[in-house]
Subunit: 373 residues, 2 copies
């Protein structure tokens, strides 16, 4: 029996959007959902309590980074990732594949796995599908991802085809190696780049193996947004209706909405937390770059329509001051606000699906947020 149970509550009549819920060993997740990223067993600048304040239902953590620091054995010894980081709600771990492939010249791909050097100390490592699952089993997340290759963009057909076929073989090896099926659900990942027939091939191969959930990988890797939307458009219908669909690495407000319209249930991205530490806020009127001089004596909240802790208590002028002085509180207030913004957006999206007005919601949002399409 799978560690998770997905229930499709409703499908939008006008679009591909779905309303659902996922039961996990650490509680229920309402979908569509955005997952804040806690790379190194901490969502940067946030406490678990603050994540709960803003209704984070599930967070993501990175297998590659945790394997490097502090090491999966230590996390296991601590009682698993949930206990180690003091987070009792669901966690998803990626497989480390994306980070390892991002190392560029530091890594070498073989059928058996990937050889690479650490980005921290240059030490040599080897991660195979079996090793990735061993690490993810030790970390103990509720949802774990198969070890795949995320092909770069652009990449020629031949490269992408070889890569996706190896990813299929690796997916089978991951499934075979997975130990904790009753406590951790292993998701397969569909690759195939920007080639429709290769996405079809990958989706068929991966769904034939069979997983309790499926991710769409290899998007948001530098391609223009219309191409990403097009690939999504023909890829999500290739996936089973009764399993959750996860679009990896996507997290701008517009991409979240466009992804939901095309039938995606889960998203993750470092964008909201990273731009926060850079001094930028998502708001209902578009981005606010808090460092800008125009906010020096602007005593309004970051987003006048927002009711988060940051917006209820602090002005743009104060936040600009904190950003300019590199104060930790700047990162805290902006991270809190940006995550609240995306989680609230997804909550509004769920309500709009429920109330059969998702397209109206989308159009209103884009008009205010500054998109015209």
């Amino acid at each position: 029996m799978s560690a998770i149970k997905f229930e499709l509550i409703k499908t939008c009549k006008q679009t591909g959007a779905r309303l659902g819920k996922i039961q996990t060993p650490h509680g229920e997740i309402q979908t569509p959902i955005f997952m804040p990223v806690g790379t190194l067993a901490t969502v940067k600048a946030m406490t678990p309590e603050e994540l709960k304040d803003i209704n984070a239902q599930i967070i993501l953590s990175n297998t590659y980074h945790l394997y490097m620091r502090p090491g999966h054995e230590l996390v296991e010894k601590a009682g698993g990732l949930h206990k180690f980081m003091n987070w009792d709600r669901p966690i998803l771990t990626d497989s480390g594949g994306f980070q390892v492939f991002s190392l560029g010249p530091l890594r070498k791909i073989k059928e058996e796995g990937v050889e690479f050097r650490s980005h921290i100390d240059g030490s040599k490592h080897f991660i195979s599908p079996e090793k990735a699952i061993e690490i993810e089993n030790a970390l103990g997340a509720d949802i774990i991802m198969a070890f795949d290759e995320c092909a770069p963009y652009p990449a020629d057909r031949e490269y992408v085809k070889n890569s996706l076929e190896r990813t299929t073989r690796w997916a089978q090896r991951c499934k075979d190696a997975h130990k904790n099926t009753e406590r951790q659900a292993l998701f397969g990942i569909v690759q195939g780049g920007m080639y429709k027939d290769l996405r079809e091939q990958s989706a068929k191969e991966i769904t034939d193996i069979g997983f309790p959930g499926y991710a769409i990988g290899g998007l948001s890797v530098g391609e223009p947004k219309p191409i990403m939307y097009e690939v999504l458009e023909y890829t999500t219908p290739l996936l089973p209706e009764d399993k959750p669909r996860y679009l990896m690495g996507v997290g701008s407000p517009d991409d979240l909405i466009e992804g939901v319209l095309r039938g995606v249930d889960m998203f993750d991205c470092v964008l909201p937390t990273r731009i926060a530490r850079n001094g930028t806020a998502f708001t209902s009127q578009g981005k606010v770059v808090a460092r800008n001089a125009i906010y020096a004596d602007d005593f309004r909240p970051l987003d006048p329509e927002c009711d988060c802790y940051t917006c209820k208590n602090y002005t743009r002028a104060y936040i600009r001051h904190l950003v300019k002085c590199n104060e930790i509180l700047a990162s805290r207030l902006l991270t809190y606000h940006n995550l609240h913004f995306l989680l609230k957006l997804m909550e509004d999206v769920r309500t709009a699906i429920q109330e059969d007005r998702l397209m109206d919601f989308r159009n209103e949002f884009f008009e205010k947020y500054g998109y015209t399409k």
Copy 2:
């Protein structure tokens, strides 16, 4: 009428320690008290709510830094420092003197005031006693400090004498310039270096001018601890019993206790917050340098006797991991713990004075904390 009212509740029978309270426009302060430092209108890594969680009664902010960034006019336009930073309890601002004198070759002392160049952009500035008070009036803290010279250590008698006499003249000018006497209490500062007769001269001159509270400046500037304790020993009795006494820039656990024993009511220091960001914790068993390898798989809290948020929820192993990865949460958890530690220490000190067992408390504390004297 003064903006504050000091009530001396009790004097220790065995030592010089005092139990008191200070009424301010933003509420009451129980003394002896440690004041966390919020240099740039934020106690680094903390929110105001967290400061309240750990019972911070008053915080200190730095006039020099706020004058530089964001500028006192902006803070005034924001409605004053309390409103700007979202802190509704008492605030004390220093005069900027200490920071300006620390600029070394960047500053030039004249009778009129001090000319200096900004540590940020090299721009030229001039602060006189009148200017310091103008800035402090704009910031709007409950307690403000006179503009003084903190002489270096070591310094010869002649230098210290000239300096303290100028500080006296400046103190009078500060008092004359002070506008908001009903909302802000101006404290005088006793100087005189490590010379007993000069401390006597300074204390007489400053108390003759008359202030609602007095600080002891020019200590904790590099002199050995026994010398600091000796100077305190003969200086506090020179100050009126019915006014609060504030030892500037002191904040190690042992110095707080030794200061209280010698009749000090108020302390401030960046030490607890600075070493926190460096990865070091105060604990009841002495300092814990969280980065150390011995804590890699130590699943105990930082301080097993502590009941703060950090110690209730996180292990040394996790905090070490965060420190090694330069995660913001490391600074947050350690800052929270260190400030809680000092504020709890002062609470315990107040209780010990109340219960006539301060010397026992001191001896037990030092034995556990690792001091033998």
